[in-house]
């Protein structure tokens, strides 16, 4: 450990404008170069996996969406699908289309929020002002559909809770036209910007051989040239009937991940347009389930996966014959990225690149420690 002889230790700590949540990174600096980094989490632990065991299945669906704060919908979807697998419920085709639509809308909203965070971390304060406002228009649509802006509590085991309002699909279609024009503007000011290219190319390169061994998921994996996505490999809901591509890049640095996310925005808009055309008129929204103290889960277990905007999110759920869930285990994309990958990437990089790398890997602290 001779490298650490003359270093200064600072905390890129929980109270900092440059981190993506409530976590801290302990850095050992020699001048402005980082010699060692250690990640500290645990500031947001609530004990979800224990709280769920005290509640019945119907009561637990309301707490699950708070596991990951920027992206509540993949959690609700996983919970609903796990319970449907265990209890043997079938949902109608209209409900499947609506749930797919909600997942893709939420993916667009989260990618706009990412863009604001990534540009803000290098000092380009113009882009958060634009992109958070554009995301707000999507939250208005969510408010009309589900009744809440951020925590929707909408995907219920057996279907969805409310029907589509009148004129909703036209409003969504107008919003997608507006977004296609905005992506051209973001290309001009952010993705083609010479300052962003000079800062981001060659920083935070992920080694391609380790990706599958350590299970890095999401855009971190796709920017290294590996073409895998849960929506194509293990299709769920309506994804096997929709037509879309998986964008990849070859370099594996911050700029490549940004380009992969921009292409995913374009693919999401394409999927949503197909859903608007194919949405069936009639169908049951919600299958009736019994009173909440009588809805029992069989003594069985299941494992489900969903592609969220940051990677593959998976749930393991086991019941034991009573109305309560026996065990629910959540595996999100951020734990491995924060501990294994970030500590390795920050060695021999600059202090000013810490915020940019954290934003680019998509680390979300509420999901690391539930």
């Amino acid at each position: 450990m001779n490298d650490l002889k003359n270093t200064i230790k600072i905390f890129h700590g929980p109270q900092h404008p440059g981190i993506t949540g409530n976590m801290s990174v302990e850095l050992d600096l020699l001048g402005e170069t980082i010699k060692r980094a250690r990640v500290h989490v645990g500031y947001l632990h609530r004990g979800f996996e224990k709280l769920v065991e005290r509640r019945t299945v119907v009561q637990a669906f309301t707490i699950v969406c708070r596991i990951c704060v920027p992206e509540p919908d993949p959690n609700e979807e996983n919970f609903a699908r796990a319970v449907e697998n265990l209890a043997g419920l079938e949902i109608s085709e209209k409900a499947k289309y609506i749930r797919t639509m909600v997942l893709e809308m939420q993916r667009l909203a989260n990618l706009f929020l990412w863009m604001g965070g990534q540009a803000g971390s290098i000092g380009l304060g113009l882009i958060p002002q634009w992109s958070v406002c554009d995301r707000d228009y999507m939250l208005d649509l969510f408010e009309e559909l589900t009744g809440g802006r951020v925590y929707h509590m909408y995907a219920f085991p057996g279907g969805v809770r409310r029907d589509l309002p009148d004129g909703f699909l036209d409003k969504l279609s107008d919003l997608l036209d507006y977004y296609e024009k905005r992506i051209i503007v973001y290309n001009n000011t952010f993705f083609d910007n010479v300052i962003f290219k000079k800062r981001a190319i060659g920083v935070g390169i992920v080694n391609r051989d380790e990706v599958l061994k350590n299970a890095y998921v999401g855009q971190t994996m796709r920017a290294c040239g590996i073409k895998k996505d849960v929506r194509k490999d293990m299709p769920y809901l309506m994804y096997d009937k929709l037509d879309f591509d998986i964008p990849i890049q070859q370099d594996g640095d911050v700029y490549a991940r940004a380009l992969v996310r921009r292409d995913e925005m374009i693919q999401s808009i394409r999927i949503l347009r197909q859903i608007i055309e194919q949405m069936p008129e009639e169908g049951d929204i919600l299958q009736k389930i019994q009173k909440h103290r009588k809805f029992k889960l069989p003594a069985d277990d299941t494992y489900v996966q969903t592609e969220s905007a940051r990677g593959a999110m998976s749930y393991y759920m086991a019941g034991d014959g009573s109305e309560k869930i026996r065990r629910m285990q959540v595996r999100g994309p951020s734990l491995v990225h924060a501990y294994t990958l970030l500590e390795k990437l920050l060695v021999d990089s600059e202090l000013a690149d810490v915020a940019m790398t954290m934003n680019s890997l998509g680390i979300c602290p509420p999901e690391i420690e539930r």
């Binding site: 509640r55 019945t56 119907v58 009561q59 309301t62 707490i63 113009l126 406002c133 408010e143 009309e144 009744g147 809440g148 925590y151 509590m153 409310r162 309002p165 503007v185 001009n188 000011t189 952010f190 083609d192 910007n193 010479v194 290219k197 909440h292």
Partner: protein
């Protein structure tokens, strides 16, 4: 060494937004209509509430208490109690409105309240029949 001409000049197109209309909602002067269907504060039609306490039984945060009112509103109310909600526990999931048998408990679309004393957050729902009406 090649200079990236496109990278230097294309961000300058942002200057064109100087002439656009601003998108800010200046909140206290201009209010955006919160849609009917938004999950806001509770309302309860006391003429039809039967005091069955299904809402208290399904709420997993223990946010609903059944209390005795000052006079009788519905002769069919067998237990004689009506619900009161603690907004220090409620999470606005609306499970209580889904299980209400006579559908008397609903969620209104107003949702804004700020106070300086954290002890003042026990709420008695308004006694109106439908969302959007007002007693006064």
């Amino acid at each position: 060494m090649a200079i990236d001409i496109k990278g230097v000049l294309s961000p300058l197109s942002a200057i064109g937004t100087l002439f656009e209309h601003p998108r800010t909602l200046t909140y206290p002067e201009v209010t955006k209509d919160i849609l009917v269907g938004y999950r806001g504060f509770h309302i309860n039609n006391l003429e039809t509430c039967i005091g069955c306490a299904s809402c208290e039984e399904v709420c997993m945060n223990d946010a609903i208490d059944m209390i005795h009112p000052d006079k009788e509103y519905n002769p069919k109310n067998t237990s004689g109690c009506i619900p009161r909600i603690d907004y220090g526990r409620c999470c606005w999931c609306s499970l209580c409105t889904d299980v209400c048998p006579p559908s008397s408990l609903k969620l209104d679309n107003i949702c804004i309240h700020a106070d300086c004393d954290p002890d003042n957050f026990l709420y008695m729902p308004k006694n109106i029949k439908n969302i959007g009406e007002d007693v006064s």
